[in-house]
Amino acid sequence: MANETTQQPPAANPNEPTANAKKYAWALPPAKTAILSQRVERVDGPAKVSGTARYTYDIHRPGMLWARAVRSPHPHAKIVDIDLSAAKKAPGVRAVLAWRDPGAEVMYQGDVVAAVAADSEDHARDAARLVNVTYETLPFSVREATSMDAATPKIFPNGNTRPGQTAEAGDLAAGFKAAAHIVEATYDTQVITHVCLESHGAVCEWNGDKLTAWVSTQGVHATRQQLAGALKIPEANVRVICEYMGGGFGSKVSADAAVVIPARLALMTGTPVKLMLDRKEEHLDSGNRPSAFSKIRAGVTADGKCVAFDAQTWGTGGAGQGAQFPLPYIYQFANRKRSHLDVYINAGNQRPMRAPGHPQGCFATEVLMDELADLVKMEPIEFRLKNLPPTAPDAMWAEYYKIGAKKFGWNKRHATGDGGKGHLKKGMGVSACQWGGGGRAGNAHIDIFADGSVVVKCGTQDLGTGTRTVVGGVAADTLGIPLSMVKAEIGDTLLPFAGVSGGSTATAGITPAIRIAAGRAKDAFLARVGAATGIDPAKLTIANGRVQGGGKSLSWKAACKHLGQEPISIDNAWEPGLSSVNTSGVQFAEVTVDTDTGIVKVDRVLAIQDCGLVINKLLAESQVYGGVISSINFALFEDRILDRRTGQMVNPNMEHYLLASMQDIPPVEVMLMNMPERGVIGIGEPPTVPTASAIANAVRNATGVTIRSLPLHPHRVLAALEAHKAGRNA
């Protein structure tokens, strides 16, 4: 009853700013902030550069065993028998478990079948080889086209494909009738894998019926819930810790086999168990970005208005997951129809990967836009401006295209294919992006102690975006004390609940709670100091770590002494009014294409991106650099290659699965558009969306050849140049 009476009635509008949000609103310019929107170094930088930051991979527990999974070598097979006897007798082995039962089907190379635990990692590897699994191999498909072929036998229990809904708007027939030019083409992007440098895995340790799990995860609380469910134990008995993590990019949002296996082996042996996947396992069984194929017929009027868009799309998310992506992307086609087909193949399942769906939809749409622009003989930015949605705070593309064109020197762009006489052709391209972001799941707790120490606790985790610095920074800025005086604790389910760090939702999910908790803590603190000193609290302010007012100036430490035995201790949840959703950005790329070798070199990139209120300029810029480079990888290098005869991944490593290194990195200019009045939104995903499309358009501009397929590997570029030449000569 008492609890019920203190509950706030639900707001009529869930986005209506609360009284707290108004009271502790972010400071808007021209107000100066000490930390917010400034370039503040990350607080855990010294730990990361000196090797003292402890990742899950670095956890060593007394007596700890190493686990190793036994995985299917076949793309599709029925398990006839699992013989664990030889493995059990191998040197150092302490436990062996069958993960699947005879009769079950493995659906892809790398599907888990069994696991072992031994006293060293090498002994665990040795023993895993001795698990003798008898398989009955079954028909498989590792190509979208094979799975879509009616002649292919049924491989997946619910069929080899699954039709999605058809989306329609306007009058397609009328649209095509109004069109002066039509493009008909198919665009496709490849499957890529996350390649988190720290692989998936966990260290699990039981103490009676309580489990402590160090997990490389994007969501400690989500992992706790799923792990407890998988083990059928109370959530309250599970503690998940992730102090540092070596990348996730969306692939570490669930408690998968890499987490449940060590928990079960630890229970069997009564000893802590560590399991970290190796690089091959990472490629095979820890997520990927689905492929995307778009067969498009699009029409444009003589004066450059996009009027018709008809698309059949398909893609694969592996052996049971979908492959949806937004299309058309951003630009408006008044009359449109799009139908989609999810295609299953015998390969590891997709997981969300940085801006799920967007890079794929962006690529098909943006390349098409350049083709349409050429048909109506319009300059590509002018053409885009004509077909963008109306400008709004969350739709700033028109503005950014204009700013970027000036900054990038877009007026020096030559006409498509007019790249000069030599074999080195230069070209420029553009592309836009959007992302929702936002977030509503975050709680924070703040303590101010009499000795002057301050701790802010939030059960979020740091993907590498700098979340620990964000948590401490918002609290310190709100309190008016230096960041060095605040300890930020994250990455532990003992801390207040926060959602997963995914979808660019972490920062917007946690900062409102921290802002309000710190604001309330500051008010409570000043009231106590006022009461103790006889100064009216309304006259007291805190700045640069000093408490001033009523003719007094106290150091933070001296002021805190007035707290006596009882610290200030405040909890707050996320409240609406300090965060928002929806971001926009555009990017420009210049490339050089060597028409003798087919090698594409990115010369420079300009990225214009907003994310609402910039919490920390240094960290936000790093997110943009990172997004751009990921997208360069998508455009030019990465490709998961499956052998159609054996169903094996051909390049499950880091020397044949290509990623950029220093020689491939162009200068990148980042323009962050700070919009503090919109509140916090998030920036992890959007900057990785448009670079690949801008590069593809730059290659088209350089060579005059449209390549509608990623990655732009040299052989593909050469083949396209050859085909173009042959076509022209024919």
Binding site: E41, R129, T134, E136, E198
Partner: protein, 201 residues
């Protein structure tokens, strides 16, 4: 009816483990496969005493000859700063400096480094004072998740020891053996220039 043979192919690492041990051992087979050859000077496949000098300190380890330098340092000396990522000498996260040269510690056997000076990221800061390379990485935010960072830091330290006043080309070349997935390259370049005291253009 196929036997499970996921790893039957000889990986590069297994190859190193079995034959890449110089004059110290010959014919070391996988432990599960049987008896050691009694060749002269052969050691293993069981654990043997191995004395390593890491960051100026001696470590007396008891490890199998197939154990890599990286695993010896991380799992036996418990210095976990350098990371294992590709495990095949491609990505550079395990970069250590051995007798003044950078090595991929994941593809170097520990017993090959007996008597050599091994330097890891764990020993770079002296008396709590960060090395100028480490400071530059912090100043420039030349890190995100931080998992490649120890390797990049060591590669940059080695670069500056080799070329105290490097050219931009030398910087790019010497840091070309490391891979970052988050995308810190631009800022690693800035940090390397700052640490070298040369202008980044």
């Amino acid at each position: 009816m196929a036997q499970h043979d996921d790893e039957s192919a000889v990986s590069r690492r297994d190859f190193f483990k079995s034959v890449g041990v110089g004059g110290l051992a010959t014919g070391v087979l996988a432990a599960t496969e049987a008896a050691p050859q009694a060749a002269p000077g052969a050691v293993g496949p069981g654990a043997v005493p191995v004395r390593l000098t890491i960051n100026g300190r001696p470590y007396n380890l008891h490890i199998e000859p197939r154990v890599t330098l990286l695993d010896a340092v991380r799992d036996h000396a418990l210095l976990t700063g350098n990371k294992r990522v590709c495990d095949r000498g491609t990505c550079g996260a395990c970069t250590m400096i051995v007798d003044g040269h950078t090595v991929y510690a994941c593809s170097t056997l520990a017993i090959e480094t007996v008597g050599k000076k091994i330097r890891t990221v764990d020993g770079l800061a002296k008396d709590g004072q960060l090395h100028k390379v480490q400071e530059a990485f912090c100043d420039r935010d030349a890190m995100m998740c931080g998992f490649c960072t120890p390797g990049f830091v060591m590669a940059t330290v080695a670069l500056l020891e080799k070329f105290p006043s490097p050219t931009p080309t030398q910087i790019r070349h010497e840091l070309n053996g490391n891979v970052c997935r988050c995308g810190t390259f631009n800022r690693v370049l800035e940090a390397a220039h700052q640490a070298a005291g040369v202008q980044h253009g």
